[in-house]
């Protein structure tokens, strides 16, 4: 049997992650990264956030957002290095760094969302 290429799956993860991150990341950065720290809006109470986070659906959704966005970013960054810096001879190292990073952070996300008390 011919060796199957992983590329189609990586492209599928790339586009799924592209959609998810385009839909959700702008508002999340705006709230969590800018509006709450600057006090434009008062940050939600811990009690409220904890209740939202504890819900299984929230955790499954957050896991999906993290994994898809990470693989989207890894794939795109791989081609940024590939095209932008023209370092094709380092292909294997680039792949290891990009997808390895995405896998490691996905595992961390899974662990953090699993152990929410």
């Amino acid at each position: 049997m011919a060796k199957r290429s992983l590329e189609p799956i990586l492209w599928l993860l790339f586009s799924a992650g592209g959609v998810v991150s385009a839909l959700l990341v702008p508002i999340l950065v705006l709230l969590l990264g800018i509006a709450f720290p600057l006090g434009w809006l008062s940050a939600p109470s811990h009690e409220h956030l904890f209740a939202v986070l504890r819900h299984p659906l929230t955790r499954v959704a957050l896991f999906g957002v993290c994994v898809l966005s990470l693989f989207h970013g890894a794939h795109r960054f791989r081609f940024t290095l590939y095209d932008g810096l023209q370092i094709k001879h380092l292909n294997e190292l680039i792949n290891l760094f990009c997808y390895g990073g995405a896998i490691a952070l996905s595992l961390w996300a899974g662990y953090l969302l699993w152990v929410v008390p």
Binding site: L23, P26, I27, G33, L49, L62
Partner: protein
Amino acid sequence: MSDQSAEHPGYTEYHPRWLRRRPSTYWWLERRAYLAFITRELSSIFIAWFIVYLLLFIRAVSRGDASYQQFLAWSRHPVVLVLNVVTFLFVVFHAFTWFNLAPKAMVVHVGGKRLPASVISASNYAAWVAATAFVVWLLLGG
């Protein structure tokens, strides 16, 4: 092929090489379209940073009120704030370019007719508004 070349097959010391000029490493600075391309590609770094930030936020919330307050204090640090403002600009650029590209990637037929590009873009933007409203409701209203 002429007969002459067929008479001398095999090894030659001076075999031809293709003339391919290597583009400059800074080729993406040459045109605005190239610069837009590389800017869009660089949004990947900022998406990765945001996921790390989000995971730190999740970890802080799950550990209790004290670590959540600590996270909020850390998020007010100027370096973190500036990084998040830059991240916001990059991800908004990513979102616009992604939704504008959607009609080219998605070919939808309804009743034998292809849906016009504007309808597909508009539905993507509508989904963006809905997702944004949902996040705001979940975090602030609930």
